[in-house]
Symmetry: C2
Subunit: 481 residues, 2 copies
């Protein structure tokens, strides 16, 4: 038992501990203790040697959260993002290379004082929303081991949900930064494309990829985003996106939601009810809900795997796939291999079709400030995926696949528990560059619902966000510590 | 000889005639007289029946240039842009279809009072910068029949240069709206991508195409642009671009120009000197010239035909090309056929490479308001093209190919005569949406140089722009009338 055994790893709690004299090394010790206790070999593909991490903690300048807003916070990195000196596998051991330098974003986070502890498991090449398409052990869902952990950023989401680290980096192309957040009851911030540099990230679909952020609270995720959103001249897709101080939610926002007729829950009436309940809260908090025919959004979503974009995944790994096909997960190989049938003319036709479909969907958003969608339509078990490795995966992307194709930003946020005790959650989506607008509303919903933070048995009080307290009434599953 | 035989077809002259009582039908009669006298069967692929055009002229409301800024102005349309009831051939007779409706832009121009007289020749499928890749007779260059007319908008440029119409529509993907302007001594406005709707236009490279405008003066081209720049919800690439009233050129503009070391004239020292002379005038007029290493722009340019974008041309005609390959011009077939070797993954790799190259070139433009480049590096004869149908074409695109790939807008403008009597000209390029900034500087250069208008033997006086006068000193080639 280390000195911080009872301290939540949300930023306010840990920084309060630092302010009272605890060291970054204390946090590292506690992180490693929790990782050991968690006893899930599926979470990390590569855990740094504790001595190295402690040395990094000791080398930090004195605690100064103004200058170093992430000072001493342990974090995890999805293993398709480079950490200097450590292999990047993308969950394909034969593909691995040892990163010579930190990725652009990891470098910024370290400069802000954060301390990386290791690299986390993922659906291979970030292709999947389930977390089971990996040659490594599958990370256990933090709340219910029968349920898939979600992917592709499986290990990062579980690490945060179990309180092993203060935050974690994922990536998000089709929903990999949001679906596992929903499945593990944490916050998943999916920034505007280009806000976070892709330098040092293994591409999935380079035109649609972004690093994403998992955290226990919205302000925590936002603080990471603020530290990481810097223009990178070396990344042709980097954009100058402003990450302002997040304020209170604006009043009188018009929030588009899927019309009752176009909501899809694949028979999960509990999820349907939970979403309706959340919308009622959103309305109570001051938003004007506008029901939208969601078919145009679903049409856009269909482009991601049915259209030309699978060729982006091929472009990322083509040489490797041709030379060492047997090293690739069979489901992943099948999905990416579909690109072999597509010509360059097909790719452009897909791009045109997307432009037209986007136009329709964007037309629907006229006068709308935000969208609110369920993050996932329902839950799937590991057994479901064994029976059919593709269909449940596709369905999990119902409310996420269209987002990056439309250049929207978004944030997935827990909103309490469903009637059956599973975590409920929604995603707030905004136009590119309006990350703060979505985050402010997400924060309001989160603090209104006051759900357990991940699977930590802790709950954050509204307003101060700085004093987590045990919440025995709402706690359903025991986890770390 | 009709009543308007001595009237220039620039807008101010013709509108002065209308104001003094001449009718739109008079202008139509004169246009048809000039077309007959021009005696070049290569200019128009389809000329409307004069009776129909006269009927359209008679049906116009009373002359009111405020309400109908293009009232009574005869114009020509490149034959890859739809005109209701008339075949659209794209210079491929077997590909032709009869347009059911006007293209979006033609419809707007007609609403503004302009009167279409016919459809003009082009490099087939708008693929080329020379004007000779057509199964129809090649239009004669308006100034020197030994020189190529330029393309792909060959007929439209020649029609304006010879004073047959007041303006004409072209299209521009790689330079088709600028190269023929330079070769025929007229103005070629290449708008910001998306400013002019592509609805009713046969695509070349849909992500890079735009309708372009040929006119005798910059204000004329601008007036057409102002009437045509409207958002089109049906075109997935349409943008809301503002076409403000064009003011005077801003003072103290920083204008990037190719450094002496990276200028390319392929041995044409006369062109080299003419460009240097124009830069001296530009500097005299108040611009600050900044020499730029142009290699990054040339690297972007190389993507257009060497990279994946040729697959866009394939996407536009793939079914036709597979079913009826012998109906396609052999050079065109060879160029577009190169797309058969490209996979969808290749297309995306090209897109990524472009993003990176663009970033480099855009970096060079930091602090730069405009670019000024030669429109063409040199002149080529019909004989040159017979000897080698590809190389001269490629070279003509030296200063045009990169422009749409970088989403710049531009305007080609004559700047007088070279030492050998050939027309000199430059293109002003600006960032997307800054069309007015480029046009204002182009207008200043044009009025400073006071060149002959096209091949019309007329010159416009500065300031008023409304009283063309014969300019026997500068007139080298007799044409219409």
């Amino acid at each position: 038992m280390t000195v911080l055994a009872d301290t939540s790893f949300d930023f306010a709690s840990l920084q309060a501990a630092f302010a009272s004299g605890y060291s970054a090394a204390d946090a590292v010790e506690e992180a490693y203790r929790r990782i050991a206790l968690a006893n899930d070999p599926g979470i990390f593909i590569h855990l740094r040697r504790k001595e190295d991490v402690l040395a990094e903690a000791h080398a930090l300048p004195p605690f100064d959260p103004e200058r170093f807003p992430l000072w001493g916070l342990p974090f995890a990195i999805k293993d398709n993002i480079d950490l200097a000196g450590v292999p990047t596998t993308a969950a394909c051991p034969a593909f691995a290379y040892t990163a010579e330098a930190d990725s652009f974003v990891v470098n910024l986070l370290r400069k802000a004082g954060a301390i990386p502890v290791g690299k986390t498991n993922l659906d291979q090449f970030a292709t999947g929303l389930v977390g089971v398409r990996t040659p490594y052990p599958v990370p256990k869902n933090a709340l219910d081991p029968a349920i898939v952990p979600g992917g592709s950023s499986s290990g990062s989401a579980v690490a945060v949900a179990r309180g092993l680290v203060s935050f974690a980096l994922g990536t998000d192309t089709a929903g990999s930064g949001r679906v596992p957040a929903a499945l593990n009851n944490i916050v998943g911030l999916k920034p505007t494309l280009g806000a976070l540099s892709a330098t040092g990230v293994v591409p999935a679909c380079r035109t649609l990829d972004t690093i994403s952020i998992f955290a226990l609270t919205v302000p925590d995720a936002w603080r990471v985003f603020s530290a990481a959103a810097r223009y990178d001249d070396a990344d042709g897709y980097s954009k100058r996106v402003v990450a302002p101080r997040m304020g209170a939610a604006e009043s009188a926002l018009r929030v588009g939601v899927p019309s009752a007729a176009t909501r899809q829950f694949f028979g999960d009436t509990v999820q349907e009810q939970a979403f309706a309940d959340t919308l009622a809260r959103l309305s109570y908090l001051g938003a004007t809900l506008v029901e939208l025919d969601f078919k145009p959004f679903f049409d856009v979503a269909a482009m991601l795997y049915e259209g030309a974009w699978v060729a982006e995944r091929m472009a990322a790994v083509e040489t490797f796939m041709r030379e060492r096909p047997d090293e690739i997960h069979p489901v992943t190989r099948q999905i990416i291999g579909a690109a072999n049938r597509l010509s360059a003319a097909d790719a452009f036709r897909g791009i045109y079709r997307l432009a037209d479909l986007r136009r329709s969907a964007e037309g629907l958003m006229t006068g709308i400030d935000l969208l609110c969608v369920p993050t996932i339509p329902t839950f799937y078990t590991l057994a479901d995926l064994e029976a059919d490795p593709v269909t449940p995966n596709s369905r999990l992307g119902t409310y996420t696949n269209f987002v990056n194709l439309m250049d929207l930003c978004g944030i997935a946020v827990p909103t309490g528990l469903r009637a059956d005790g599973r975590p409920s959650g929604v995603t707030l989506l905004a136009r590119a560059g309006q990350d703060a607008r979505a985050a402010a509303v997400a924060k309001g919903l989160h603090e209104d619902a006051l759900p357990m933070l991940g699977a930590t048995q802790l709950q954050v009080r509204p307003g101060d966000l700085g004093n987590p307290r045990p919440d025995p009434d709402e706690c359903v599953i025991a986890v770390v510590g």
